[in-house]
């Protein structure tokens, strides 16, 4: 019987090959999208999951009144280990702060993520160098480089012996021993390209040096809430014992917390859960696309029901049970879903490279770890049920007495259902189109808005030498300025690429507020083309500028509410600064955060060292200038001049927009997909509807209706459905995009145009699709249509 049913199914599908391919094709495309997103979801949610202690590892973090951090002081971990028996291991790590050159005799690599890891932590996280993890002796540093670096430095190395390398600038003559290479797990929270394994780090450091990550591993089944409480109490008592609490200060202002390893990648307590939200949004999106495709399926299967009604009736009078028929139809749909799944896999494989580059991942369909092996059958079953259960129930429920009478029409009820399903599809499509258009407007606004400075033609040169004092930087500036085409040179302790600044308390006219500070050198404002609102920029002609002059931005002036700020005094870091200028706010951190109230000064003992060199170059002469800088760099920057490395500031700043551009691409793809699938469904549905009305159309034509009237007749109901879809989705799209826009400090007002446009787009597409279908019925000779009765 199965064989016979299979034959019937294939013959049926073949006879309706057009609709079948639309059905299966649409589903395949949706499945491809869904599979990709699901692989991405699995990948993002399974960082470190291979670690056998995954569920028992926690990071120790600290809460301050207005922020949380995972940086902890080194003695704390030790104290935890000594006090709590349920903590089986404690391991600390520290990040190296900057890019470091590592050279062999022949070549140089730059480590960007140097990590210092305690032996215990290396064990906890399976950080295992090639040749195995060795325990260091005493204070030994076991230094390993990632495999590609090692291959660049020692291309002919065959043995496993350690090698000597110079670390940092060659002229600094610092040497170290590389023990070998390591392949870092890219699917772990712990990422590095060079690692030093040590027995203990931060040995000499106290509670005043919170520069370390402390990971603990607990016994399975430990009550984390109570452990957290105990650890917090320990933290308070340690602070008091070590004299870290000032007179009158409340020790409970800062608290220690535990954060499980499984939350570190997506929603760490100390950090943003934006990635988590994006992931959830993407999953919902993938799910919606799949649902739309399933709706198509349901819709078309029911639309074709009349064709199969006779079969149902006949089989029932032959003695078929209803469930046998239900299963028969479900298997038919399962077959189509199976084909769609295979096609979907092929499509996914084709678009995977693009997807990977968009999401900056290396997913592969043929990787066991992605979970597709067990997810695919589940999805297959799921879509078969979603798409198939309703049609299978409707079809198998036909009463033979009714369907065998001839002249059988599927009921009004399923007509309503089909229409509402179509409306749902279009509603989702409208939301995506509107969303896409609004995202586009915001991005356009971000690209065209004045950000307060000009990062173009600014070269950011990497450097490790401290140029905190202006007189130390002066000769460097002088040499660079000699190059024809260089317009301005400066050094600061941060570049405007979204990297945060330090903060400190400052007092003006008795009012104290916390301000961000940026330590700059002469020509900072000129290099970045920042406009002064009042006063003047720093200049060598004012001796005081190198001592106690300050420039505020508008936000800082507004924060204090100072009238006529020029000449007023602002006190901070034990210095009375004189305000010499006010600049326009610059959106150095992009559009999401409001501009920080900031103080700019040349002299700031509380600040960080100035290392970030920026050079403004004449557009026409960029290539020349870069070539000259490269050739002269060792002379210009004597102490770190081995390697001239640079970035264009506008590219670094542009990365702040990358996330939104990624979102835009995703929405673009989603909007295209949903429209594509909805139109496919509409195409087939319109075909079915016009087929059903061929006789009616013929009669109307004989009665004298013209073509236009008939097109109108057929289009009307679809037009109404699309309008309803628009009405439903507008408020939804409005709420969703408003929520999204609220994540920006600087944003557009929601425009009307996207709503109108998405209505126009959907209506146009609908009318075109339906008219193409109706055209066949209208062109047909009415006599032919009426002959068969």
């Amino acid at each position: 019987m199965f064989k016979l049913n299979l034959k019937i199914a294939l013959r049926n599908l073949w006879r309706n090959i057009g609709i079948t391919s639309i059905n299966v094709g649409g589903l395949a495309v949706a499945l491809a999208a869904f599979m990709l997103l699901m692989m991405y979801f699995t990948y993002e949610t399974s960082f470190d999951k291979k670690n056998p202690n995954f569920d028992n590892i926690y990071i120790v973090g600290r809460t301050f009144p207005d922020f949380k951090t995972n940086y902890t002081p080194p003695p704390f971990g030790k104290a935890i280990k000594e006090n709590f028996s349920e903590v089986v291991a404690v391991g600390k790590m520290k990040k190296g702060g900057f890019e470091l050159a590592v050279s062999s005799h022949t070549s140089t690599v730059f480590t960007k993520q140097q990590l210092f890891v305690e032996y215990e932590a290396a064990k906890m996280f399976n950080i295992i160098p090639e040749g195995g993890l060795k325990k260091p002796n005493g204070n030994e540093f076991l230094y390993y480089l990632s495999k590609p670096y090692m291959q660049t430095l020692f291309p002919n190395k065959k043995d496993t012996k350690p090698e000597m390398v110079s670390i940092g600038s060659r002229s600094a003559e610092q040497f170290g021993e590389v023990r070998g290479s390591i392949v870092p797990d890219s699917h772990s929270n712990i990422s590095f390209d060079a690692v030093s394994i040590v027995n203990e780090i931060g040995t000499g450091e106290s509670y005043g040096h919170p520069n370390y990550f402390t990971y603990i591993q607990v016994k399975p089944g430990t009550d984390i809430a109570s452990l957290e409480l105990k650890i917090n109490n320990l933290y308070h008592s340690e602070l008091t014992k070590n004299g870290m609490v000032d007179e009158g200060e409340d020790v409970t202002e800062t608290n220690a917390f535990l954060d499980p390893l499984k939350n570190q990648h997506l929603k760490p307590k100390a950090g943003s859960d934006a990635n988590y939200k994006v992931l959830i949004a993407l999953s919902v999106l993938g799910f919606l696309i799949l649902v739309i495709a399933c709706i198509n399926f349901t819709n078309l299967s029911i639309a074709q029901a009349a064709k199969r009604a006779k079969e149902v009736g006949v089989k029932k009078v032959m003695g078929a049970y209803r469930f046998q028929l239900t299963i028969q139809f479900l298997i038919e749909i399962l077959m189509q879903c199976l084909v769609a799944t295979v096609l979907g896999l092929i499509i996914a494989e084709i678009v995977l490279p693009k997807f990977n580059s968009l999401f900056l991942v290396h997913l592969s369909i043929w990787n066991k770890e992605n979970g597709l092996i067990w997810q695919l059958p589940v999805i297959l079953l799921f879509i078969t049920l979603i798409a198939g259960i309703y049609p299978a129930m409707v079809l198998s429920g036909f009463k033979p007495a009714a369907v065998l009478k001839g002249n059988f029409q599927t009921s009004r009820q399923s007509y309503w259902l089909r229409n509402s399903l179509l409306v749902v599809q279009f509603s989702i499509a409208v939301i995506f189109i509107t969303g896409l258009l609004i995202i586009n407007s915001q991005l356009k606004y971000m690209r065209t808005q004045d950000v307060g400075f000009n990062p173009e033609q600014v070269v950011y040169v990497k450097n490790l030498v401290y140029y905190t004092k202006p007189e130390v930087f002066a000769p460097v500036r002088e040499k660079i300025m000699k190059i024809p085409g260089v317009k301005a040179v400066t050094v600061a302790n941060a570049i405007p690429d979204g990297s945060g600044m330090g903060g400190n308390g400052y007092t003006v006219e008795g009012k104290q507020h916390s301000l961000s500070f940026l330590d700059v050198d002469y020509d900072y404002f000129e290099t970045l083309n920042i406009k002064l609102k009042e006063g003047r920029a720093f200049s060598t002609s004012f001796q005081a500028d190198a001592v106690n002059s300050a420039i505020l931005n508008e936000a800082a002036v507004a924060k204090y509410g100072i009238q006529n700020p020029i000449g007023k005094t602002i006190r901070g870091c034990n210095i009375d600064y004189t305000i010499v200028g006010v600049i326009n706010d610059l959106k150095a951190e992009g559009f999401e955060k409001a501009v920080e109230p900031t103080i700019y000064a040349i002299n700031n003992p509380c600040g960080n060292p100035k290392t970030e060199i920026m050079v403004k170059v004449d557009e026409q002469r960029m290539a020349e200038v870069l070539a000259i800088l490269k050739s002269q760099w060792s002379d210009i920057n004597k102490r770190d001049g081995d390697n001239f490395r640079y970035h264009f500031l506008d590219e670094l700043y542009g990365k702040l927009f990358a996330k939104q551009e990624q979102l835009q691409s995703v929405f673009f793809a989603a909007a295209l997909l949903t429209i594509f699938i909805a139109i496919l469904g509409l195409f087939a549905f319109a075909k079915y509807i016009t087929n059903g009305r061929i006789k009616e159309i013929a009669v109307r034509k004989i009665l004298g209706a013209n073509d236009l009237q008939i097109f109108k007749l057929i289009n009307t109901s679809f037009f109404v459905m699309v309008m309803i879809a628009n009405l439903i989705s507008w408020p939804l799209a409005y709420i969703l995009t408003k929520k999204w826009l609220e994540t920006f400090a600087y944003r557009i007002e929601i425009p009307i145009l996207p709503f109108v446009l998405s209505a126009l787009i959907t209506i146009m597409l609908t009318i075109i699709t339906v008219t193409i279908q109706a055209n066949r019925a209208v062109r047909a000779n009415p006599v032919d249509a009426l002959k068969y009765e």
Binding site: M1, K7, K310, V317, M318, G319, A320, K399
Partner: protein, 226 residues
């Protein structure tokens, strides 16, 4: 074989009952060949559907082979379809996607008859109906008369004790109709299969041995054919 007592059927529409069948009481014995006649809309098809358990009467008792049909469970009814009742339709109702042989095979599958026996039964019946050459054709490749022959073959292959036929020759030309009627008569006489047919043709009614005439839902006449 069939006992009907006071069968009533009506449709209630906005509180108004429109009766299709009233006080239908009759019995049909194994081996009878009964023709049901009457004007269009009289309730013939409704009566046949009730007899075939495709519709339920509003009132009345119906016993099929001694069993009360109204009290029957769905499963029992389906068992009767599988083993005792064969249907023949005016519009043939062959399944378009199946070949002649497959259409005939279908009821045997639901009866769970093993493959070898299915093959031999199909071969037999194709042979008997002179349709061996047509067995791999699809219904739309056959004439109306041939389609109806397949329809009857399909009803017969499950070896039913009764065949219910609603205007089996309604769509056929008279030569083809005659062939079908001869076949019914033969089945009735040689295999003792009970046959109930609805027909408009006086001539076709004469093939049977009893004629029930229905008008406005009431049995007007019940005559035996000589």
């Amino acid at each position: 074989m069939i006992e009907l007592k006071n069968i009533e059927k009506y449709y209630a529409n906005k509180g108004v009952k429109s009766y299709i069948l009233r006080h239908v009481t009759t019995s049909i014995k194994q081996g009878e060949f009964v023709s049901i006649m009457g004007p269009s809309g009289a309730g013939k098809s409704t009566l046949l559907n009730i007899l075939g358990m495709l519709e339920e009467p509003t009132y009345g008792e119906y016993h099929f082979m001694g069993e009360d049909v109204t009290a029957m469970k769905e499963r029992q009814r389906i068992e009767l379809y599988r083993n005792h009742i064969g249907f023949v339709f005016q519009a043939y109702h062959l399944i378009d996607e199946m070949t002649v042989a497959e259409n005939i095979e279908a009821p045997l599958l639901y009866k769970k008859i093993p493959g070898a026996e299915r093959k031999s039964r199909i071969a037999d019946i194709l042979d008997r109906f002179n349709m061996v050459a047509k067995k791999d054709l699809f219904p739309n490749q056959l004439s109306g008369g041939q389609q109806q022959l397949v329809g009857i073959a399909r009803a017969l292959v499950a070896q039913p004790s009764i065949i219910l036929a609603d205007e089996p020759t309604g769509n056929l030309q008279s030569a083809q109709a005659e062939q079908i009627m001869d076949l019914f008569k033969k089945l009735n006489q040689e295999e003792n299969i009970t046959i109930l047919q609805v027909t408009h043709s006086e001539k076709n009614a004469q093939y049977g041995n009893r004629i029930l005439t229905i008008e406005d839902g009431v049995i007007k006449e019940d005559v035996t054919v000589k």
